[in-house]
Each structure stands twice: as C-alpha cells, then as structure tokens.
Amino acid sequence: MKKFLALTLAILMLVALLAGCGGQQEEAAPPAQNGSAEPSGGEEAGGGEEAFTRFEDMETVEVYMMAWGQWDGFEQVAEEINKITEEKLNVHCNLHQIFIAQYANEMGMMLAAQETIDLCMIGAGGASSFSSMSSQNMLTPLNEYLPVYAPELYGMMQKYLPANTVDGNMLAVPALRMYNTSEWLFMRTDILEHLGLTEEAMAIDSWSDFEALLQKVYEAEDSLPAELQTNCILGQQNGSGGVIAYNGLDYVSDDFAGNKAYDYLGLMYLAVDPETNEVMPWIISDETKALFDRMYDYYNAGYIYKDAATSTDYSDNMMAAGMCFAYFCNGEYGAAENKSSTTGRNLTGFVAVPIGITTSYVNSWGWGIPSTAESPEAAAALLNLMYTDPEIENLLVWGIRGRDYELNEEGEAYFLDGAQYQGLEFFYGNQFNAYPSVGQGGDFRQRQWEDNESAPLSPYFGLTVDSTAITNELTAVQAVIDKYYPTLGCGAVKADTVWEQFKQELYDAGLQAVIDHYQAAVDAFVG
C-alpha cells in the first residue's frame, strides 16, 4: 500500500510539474518569413496593385481596451464606432473594456490561455506593458500588415514606430500623443500676487533666483491671510517622497538654461551620456547627490513638507488642498493651464528642464496585435481608421455629442452633467484628432503638434532593452532605492550620512549587472 501511495504521489507531482511548464507559445514568425499576408476576402494590395480599401466579407475584431471608470454609456459609443467601421472597412469590432487596475493581470491571463484578442491596448505596466509583451513574444510583428492595411497610419507614425520596434520587427504602434515632456515648476499665483512677487517669479532663471523667492515666501508665511497659508513652501512631486525628479536630469548648473536631461532608457536610476554612450548609475552620481544635498538644505530651511518621506499624497492633491506654495512636476505643452484646471488653483509655471522625446515615454501607451489574433489584417485596418478618423477619436475621448459633451464656439469640448461616458484624450489612437478642452483654445491641437514635432528625439530613440535576464537584479535594486529614496529625495536625511551604505547596497543588489546589461544593449544599438 505504501509503495502504491508513493508511486501515485510521484506520478502526480510529475504531472503537476509538466502542467506548470506548459503554456509556451510557438514563437510568432514575422510575416516576412511566411510570405505576404493574404487579405481574407479583401482586395489584393502592394506591388503596384490596387491598395486595400475594404474587406469583401464582414470581419470581426476582438478589441480590448482599458477603462478608467464605470460607464453605462459605452455600449452606445461602441455602436456608433461600429457604424463607421462597418461602412468604411466592413469590420465589426467587439469592444471590451477592462478596468485599468486589472487590465495587466487580465491580459496576462487571457494571453496565457490563448484566448482570441485581435487588438489590445498596451500600457499600465505589468503583463500588459510593451517590454513584457514583447519579451514574451506575445505580439505579432506588423511589418507587412501596416503598409498594406494601415498605410496612412504607417506614414504618419514613421518617426515614432522605432519606439516599438525590436530587432527590426514593428511589434506595436505608440498612441499618437504629446511626447515632448519637461520638468516644470508651478507656483500659486494668488500668493505671488499678494506678496507682489509675480514679476520676480516670472523672471526666475536660476536656482539662486528660485531660492531667493522661496525665502521671501517662507518669511512672509505667517503674515499671509488664512486662505493663503500653507503647510509647506515646496510640496513633494509624487507619493514616493521625491520633491523633484532625478531620473536622467542634471541640475548642477545654477543657471536653469544649463540644466540637462539624459535618456534613462526607461529605468529611473540609469542615464546614458550621449557623448560617450556610457551607461551611468545616475542615482548615485555626483549630480544626483548634489540635488539631494540641495533638497536637504531646503528641508532644514523649512521649505519642504515635513512628512514628505512618508506621505503618499500627490503634488496635485497637495496643491488642491492648499498644502503647498510650489511644486515640481513632469508636464507637457500647456501644463500650466492644465494644472490650474486640475488643481482648481491659478498657477504660474515654467519649464525648469526640457526633457525631449524618449523611447520609454513614447512606447508607454499604444496598441498591439497579439499573437492570438485571428484577424490581424482587420485589426491593422481598424487601427488605421482609429488614427485617422477624428469621429472615432472623439467618440472614444468625448462620447456622444449632446449626451456626454458639447462644443462651444471655439470648437472646445466640455463634458455635460450626467455624461454617461468619459474617455481620456491620451488613451486612444490620435490625441491630436480630439477636440481640445475648454480653455485650451481652438487651435490647441495644432500648437501641441508643432511643439511635439519641434522636440528633439533622444539619440537612443528606438532602443528597447529586454530585461528578462536581469529581472531579479532589477527587483533587488529597486527595493534598495525604495528604502533610501523617500528620505533622500525630500531632504529629510543628509546624503553624506547614508551615501556609501546606499551605494554598497545597490551594488550588492546587482546594480553592476544591470549597468552591464544596459551597456551591452546601448553598444549594440549604436553599432
């Protein structure tokens, strides 16, 4: 009996082991290796023949996208979208919304279970991030689908497609949105006006000017009327304790014009020197230490929120609650107006450091055709329509006109009370096709576009690093940073007291292995 039980146990364990090893997909071969993709019932395309316009037979596409809220009205939005897609392409799309909080988890499960997904949003981190999906071969290469079934999109996105291209395979299309970001400084206009410091604030172009202003506001704090008093002069930037972003940013120059931004390849604690192509551990660089020292001085001077190291409040929340006079924040073109609108406070803002366009920012949101797609051609054609048809974009962003939003005379849109659906402008295909919001101006999208087009591309644009081989090191290094950064970033701790220990723990966690891995990728990229 005992032998029988032992044998049964052994067999069961072996079966469990094999079950756990299963689920590997066959590597999706790029279409080029299989010959040209044949349109399923559509017209022939390419090679001087008539371009694809519409499928002969109705195609059905399963589309999965993120939702940020519960919207009863989305069904009608989907119906309106299908009216357009069925007329123009003979494609019916089943639009599935999944809450953003569970999107990554759900997509990972569905792809592992080989469920049919023809088109899906990429983003929100985790299993649905581009790096994760591309490294696990979950995306169909689009090299031959885009030129044939999405020619307008292909032409429009030529400049940005490298952000989602790995080893020559275009694996996704980035959402066309504002890519040019900067580190901004925002200050409360009402406090500046009350203290007569508006002109001085607008003239700030150096750390010295900024510190002089902070000093004046700090000294005048007690004399301010109750509605203008704050808990602190300088609020934290995010819920991690940092007052100002450090990732790839060099603030050593007193003159703001001398501030520099390096590409950090999507990893906050690294940066690449474009002159030498050297990957630097930026978090423990002299420049970052100087930044932490500056924050320490501010903290001791009483400028910074005393609970910044432990508070999980976001800068916008703090500003809206009247907790701080100023804060640093990453923003895009029109950020000052945007922040004033989101926080409910009139803010004066200017760019402290222009960052430019990086791969990691561009490919953080987009669309991909998973390897489980049954209608990749139809999915590509649908994608083309999403990026080129303003009607579809506005249905996704604003909903149904008259029910969810209305337009004013300037062509700006605003949500109505009781709107049954609300989207987000940066979520979908082409942000520049969406109506601007009230206050941005009717020509806002045109100005945004010009700002985007004029921004410099990182010299490493197109480099996506597959970090699967160093997952353990990445986790360990991040844990060390999470331990030290909250207190260093807000200046609660003097950097000198923990610096050597911080560096040692980082290298013990495997920082050098991370640097070497990224360096090899950079060297291969620059050839």
Binding site: L9, F99, I100, E106, M109, A113, A124, T342, L424
Partner: protein, 305 residues
C-alpha cells in the same frame, strides 16, 4: 488559564481575585480599544472634509464635517455600489449554503471508522492543501473548460466553495463528537445512511457548521481575487472588487497621466475611508448574530468525549 479560585464559602472574593480581574480587564480593554479605535478613526476621517483631512491629518472628531466622500461614492458610483452590495450578499448566501451542503457530505464518510477507503480519500484531500495547479491552469480550467468567466458562478466556485482545511475540520469534529454507537442505534432502528446523516449527524454538528459557515461567509464577502481573474463585466463586480477598482483605477491614472487628470476625480483620503466603511459595516451588523455559535465552535477543540 487555570487559576485556582480562592473564594471562600461565604462568596467573598479574595484580594488575589480582584487583582487578577483588574489586570485581565485592563488588558482586554486595551486590546478592544486597539481593535475599535482604528475603525473610529476611519469613520471620522470618512466624514471629514478632504482638504482639511489632507492638511491637518486624521482626528477622532472631524475638524470639518463633510459627507462628500459618501456623496462621491454613492452619487458617482451609487447604483453600482448598491448593485455590488446585493450581488455580494447573494453570492455569499449561495456560496455559503452550497459549501455547508457539500463539504460535510465529503467529510462525514471520511470520519466513519467503517469506511474502508477513508484514509485514501483523506490523503487526497490533504494533498490538495499542499499542491495545486497554479493560477494560469486554474484560469484555463474555469474559463475554457467550465466556461464560468463573466458569470456569477465565477464568484462562487473557484477556490471558494470549500477547501481541504475545512474538510479536515469537519472530519475531526464528526469523528470526535458523533459516537459510533449513535449511528449503530439509528441503524438498528431502521434508518438509512441519508437519514442518519441529515437527522442525526447534522443536527449534532451545528457548532461546527456555524463556525465554518461564518468563515466561508466572511471569505465570500471579502473575496476579490475571483473577480480579478474571471470578471470583466462591471455588472458582476462584487463590492470589494468594485471598491478596489475605483481606488486603484484612479491611482493608476494619477501615476500614469500625471497632470492630465483632474484631481477632483481622484478618490481622496476621505473617499478611501468611506469605501473602507462601506466594506466593513455589513459584516459588523451581521456578526453579533453569529457570535455565540462562533465562540461555541472555537471551544469545540476542548470538548472531549
């Protein structure tokens, strides 16, 4: 704790007793406060103006009273919150009832000394406590074999209906408290196995049924993982999943969208507290009704034949 009472025959309590009572009561009061005070803080915070809460921190008495947090949850998501609450209640009732029906049916034969294969099946049950297929195989099984995805059964069956631990608890209770002579007597009187089970065994097992029933019910009420894996249809979100999603959705967007998202849409501290209250209060209301049976169930282990 076996403390020898030193009460004399006149009923006068000794000094040692008084000291003992004072110490025990103080300790229990402190422990009770440690359990109650955080909830009072949450309740107070949920009724405090959010800006005041953010600026001045938490307080047992709201510095500036505001019901905005509840307005936000119920007006913005009101219909969904109530719908989810009813759905969660329904799932809890159905799931607990099924569990109380099925699990003892497996455990009872295992407790019978005259069941030839009891050890083998007990081993199988015990084995499942140590090993399982993992999340992905489970997902594939439930979604593609049993097709429960986006159905109410996805909230009831996967991983929740019963587990090996409860089966073992039932088994041990039956073995300890249902004497074979009772079953023998019933058999002599002409009762069949089903009659013995439903008319003798189950009525004598009310404490364990109540105890495990409460644990299973609480498990269903608090569960959100089944919803996370198997439910994407918002109409089938349980209360915990809905509340979790509301908070995490907006927090994810605040992380991702940065300045592109209106702060007023972000469930602030007071709204998070309100959601915690909404999740806890129904259980707090129901618990007193099950308390006696729960305590009796905990004492089961000390009862010997």
């Amino acid at each position: 704790m076996n403390k020898k009472r030193t009460t004399d025959y006149t009923g006068v309590i000794s000094r040692e007793d008084i000291v003992y009572q004072v110490i025990v009561n103080v300790l229990l009061i402190l422990l009770s406060l440690a359990a109650i005070l955080p909830f009072l803080l949450i309740l107070s915070s949920s009724l405090t103006d959010d800006y005041v809460l953010t600026r001045f921190g938490y307080n047992f008495f709201p510095r500036a009273f505001s019901a905005y947090a509840y307005e936000f949850v119920f007006s913005r998501n009101g219909a969904y919150v109530l719908h989810s609450a009813w759905l969660t209640l329904l799932v809890t009732i159905i799931g607990t009832s099924l569990s109380l029906l099925i699990a003892p049916l497996l455990a009872y034969p295992l407790s019978r000394r005259d069941f030839k294969y009891a050890r083998f099946f007990t081993f199988l049950v015990f084995f499942t406590m140590l090993f399982n297929g993992g999340i992905v195989p489970s997902y594939i099984m439930w979604s593609q074999v049993f097709h429960v995805k986006n159905t109410i059964w996805a909230l009831i069956f996967p991983g929740m209906l019963f587990n090996g631990f409860f089966i073992i608890l039932y088994k041990n209770y039956f073995a300890t408290n249902i004497h074979p002579s009772l079953i023998e007597a019933a058999r002599i009187d002409g009762a069949g196995e089903w009659q013995i089970y439903f008319r003798i065994v189950l009525p004598l097992s009310l404490p364990i049924l109540a105890t495990i029933g409460l644990m299973v019910g609480l498990g269903y009420w608090n569960n959100w993982t089944n919803g996370l894996y198997y439910i994407t249809d918002q109409k089938l979100f349980t209360l915990q999943q809905l509340l979790k999603n509301i908070i995490e959705n907006i927090r994810a967007l605040a992380d991702i969208a940065g300045g592109s998202f209106p702060v007023s849409e972000i469930p602030s501290n007071s709204v998070r507290m309100a959601m915690a209250v909404i999740g806890i209060v129904p259980i707090m209301i129901l618990y007193p009704f099950f308390q006696n049976a729960f305590i009796a169930g905990i004492a089961i282990g000390g009862v010997k034949e």
